[in-house]
């Protein structure tokens, strides 16, 4: 059948399209344009070519924010995948209380990031926070958490009298606190996704493995893990994208990305440059750098997916 020109299909997509055009497409293009301007809050700005970009490459805080974001992503993503898969596999095997556990694990995901950030900020308080109380129960001395700029590897090894060079110190303890909270917040969603993925695996494989006398552990590595890999890729991509955008935690739990900028993440830096320093051209350049990074990683992960999928 040949496609005919009709008016009505266009009328149906018009409301959605016009909103997306005005509030998505135009801003995306504008963000690209603004990045070539010296653009403060009012007025039109001055064209400065690639100056924002060359400034960005020389900006130490930019690189530190990128490094912090990198640490967050590199820890949050695997931790979240391992824990949520573990929970999902266990939930998949039980019958009683399954619903209750699912609800409990999912609760942090539906609650607002603002409220739970406030709660976790108070939990990480040096003097009165729950974290120090709880680690005290197992004999660990109180930590400074959100006000500690020293790297976690540095802190760990200095306990054994080993001094690490500065570059090997790892993310600051403050950033580590943010990481713990971020994993906690997203865990329930990934668990639910994994649980749905696991339910799609046919029981036949496990029955056959059982007859062959394969251990549960072997079954997990030989059947579950390969067959759930499409879900793993979905979780990997989603968690990566979401982690790169972490903002509210930093805004609410830290003092402007402190101490010593060790918790300044890239989206917070965009916000700060745009709305505190009012250097919107520069902020747009950083936003574009982030976009290219996320896009590149997504494409890379999709490529990888084709090689690994069953």
């Amino acid at each position: 059948m040949k496609t005919k020109w009709k008016v009505s299909p266009y009328l149906y997509i018009l409301p959605a399209f016009s909103l997306l055009f005005a509030f998505r497409l135009i801003p995306i293009i504008m963000s690209f344009v603004i990045s070539f301007f010296d653009w403060s809050i009012k007025g039109t700005g001055k064209f400065i070519g690639l100056l924002n970009y060359s400034n960005m490459l020389k900006d130490e805080v930019f690189w530190q924010s990128m490094g912090n974001t990198f640490w967050l992503v590199i820890i949050v993503v695997p931790a979240s995948i391992v824990f949520s898969l573990l929970f999902a596999v266990m939930l998949n095997q039980i019958k009683r209380l399954k619903g209750l556990f699912r609800t409990v694990y999912f609760m942090p995901f539906v609650t607002s990031l603002v409220a739970v950030s406030i709660v976790w900020k108070i939990m990480f308080n040096e003097q009165t926070g729950l974290m120090n109380t709880m680690i005290g129960w197992v004999g660990i001395e109180p930590q400074k958490w959100l006000s500690e700029a020293r790297g976690i590897f540095d802190i760990f090894f200095s306990g054994f009298g080993i001094t690490l060079p500065k570059w090997a110190g790892g993310p600051s303890q403050a950033l580590f606190a943010i990481i713990i909270m971020t994993v906690w917040k997203g865990l329930g969603y990934n668990t639910i996704i994994y649980l749905a993925g696991l339910q799609n695996i046919s029981k036949v494989y496990y029955e056959a493995a059982e007859i062959d006398g394969a251990s549960k552990l072997k079954q997990f590595f030989r059947i579950t893990l390969p067959l759930v890999s499409p879900t793993t890729f979905y979780v990997l991509i989603m968690t990566t994208i979401v982690s790169f955008q972490a903002f509210a935690q930093i805004y609410l739990m830290t003092d402007k990305g402190g101490p010593l900028n060790t918790t300044k993440l890239i989206v917070y830096y965009i916000y700060e440059k745009g709305f505190d320093t009012l250097d919107m051209g520069y902020a747009s350049a950083v936003a574009l750098a982030l976009f290219i990074l996320i896009l590149g990683l997504t494409v890379l992960q999709k490529r990888l997916e084709k090689h690994v999928n069953y």
């Binding site: 997509i13 801003p27 809050i41 095997q93 409220a115 709305f275």
Partner: protein
């Protein structure tokens, strides 16, 4: 491994981690019920408890606030029934002052105090207004567009479809700055429109509806066409009644999303009377950073409505998120 042992290990691990997941909420509520001094002195962890001293001079028992010991005397403040200090720095014989064991006591008044300090009523109203109006917008724009994408043939359909898809891939922080500039140019900053209109469309919801509309059998439409049903009639009379589960799913995503959205309203509004709940809460976090118990009470406030919604429809909500994730 023995099956029973395996199961008990699974239940133990799940319970321990389950506890880890909800401990912040439990602690939030118990802190919200403590007095500030109790929290600051770190006297109780989970159950708010009151600790006080009693001065028993043989004939009369008096509730007191202990200050310090001085020789064989104790220095105390005298308290009335409500715990208010009526007389300061009284000296009492040390033997007559005894510490009373901690008893659980919940300070529900913290919630009232927090509610009085922060205009939560306005914040709630703003959040509800913004959430529901944009939900209606999302449902209308999504169903119309999805109808065209799913059941009509037209030139440029694939182009528009992929254009939408690629716009979905761009995260919000990327266009936050330029959206601010745009809304500034059209004088929309600090208005309700700024919070509602850009969010009256949701690309993901369009795909959700498109998927569903595609799955409906063609016979249904053929029969309707014979009965003289027009293009819009099919959407209104046939697809809408058959889409209730998808409408529910889309509504859940939209409501939870706009209830919890923070960065956009933070940036686009400034006037206190336009603040939504999350923004209001974040301002309170800055103003009252030392009033921990009130902060916790306020956080509890803002979490409770969404948790009630969650508990009422948790099966549906969890299933929706699971399904939507798999479709990707």
């Amino acid at each position: 491994m023995n099956e029973k042992l395996r199961m008990s290990i699974i239940y133990t691990v799940l319970s321990v981690f389950g506890l880890v997941m909800i401990v912040p909420f439990i602690w939030m509520i118990s802190t919200a019920l403590m007095t500030q001094s109790e929290f600051n002195k770190h006297e109780s962890t989970f159950v708010p408890k009151e600790e006080y001293h009693v001065w028993d001079n043989g004939s009369e028992k008096q509730k007191v606030l202990f200050v310090m010991d001085k020789g064989d005397k104790s220095i105390v403040h005298l308290l009335d029934k409500d715990g208010k200090i009526v007389e300061e720095y009284k000296e009492a014989p040390r033997s007559q002052v005894t510490k009373v064991k901690k008893v659980p006591s919940f300070h529900w008044a913290n919630f009232i105090k927090a509610f009085k300090k922060v205009p939560f009523g306005i914040y709630f109203a703003n959040t509800l207004y913004v959430s529901f109006v944009s939900l209606i917008g999302v449902l209308i724009t999504s169903m119309l567009a999805a109808y065209a994408f799913a059941r009509m043939e037209f030139i440029g359909r694939d182009f528009f479809f992929y254009l939408f898809l690629s716009m979905m891939m761009v995260p919000e922080p990327i266009y936050l700055i330029s959206s601010y500039v745009l809304l500034d140019k059209i004088n929309w900053l600090d208005t309700y429109q700024a919070l509602i209109v850009p969010w009256c469309v949701n690309i993901f919801t369009i795909f959700l509806f498109r998927q569903h509309f595609k799955s409906l059998p063609q016979e249904l439409f053929d029969a309707a066409a014979i009965d003289g049903c027009g293009t819009f009639g099919m959407l209104w009379r046939i697809m809408l009644p058959l889409s209730k589960p998808i409408i529910a799913t889309a509504s859940i995503f939209s409501l939870i999303g706009s209830w919890n959205s923070f960065m956009w309203p933070l940036v686009m509004t400034n006037r206190p009377e336009l603040r939504v709940l999350q923004v209001g809460l974040s301002y309170f976090n800055q103003e009252a950073s030392t009033q921990t118990t009130l902060l916790m009470a306020a956080s509890t406030f803002s979490i409770v409505p969404i948790l009630i919604l969650f508990f009422m429809a948790q099966k549906q909500i969890i299933a929706s998120y699971a399904k939507a994730g798999l479709k990707d």
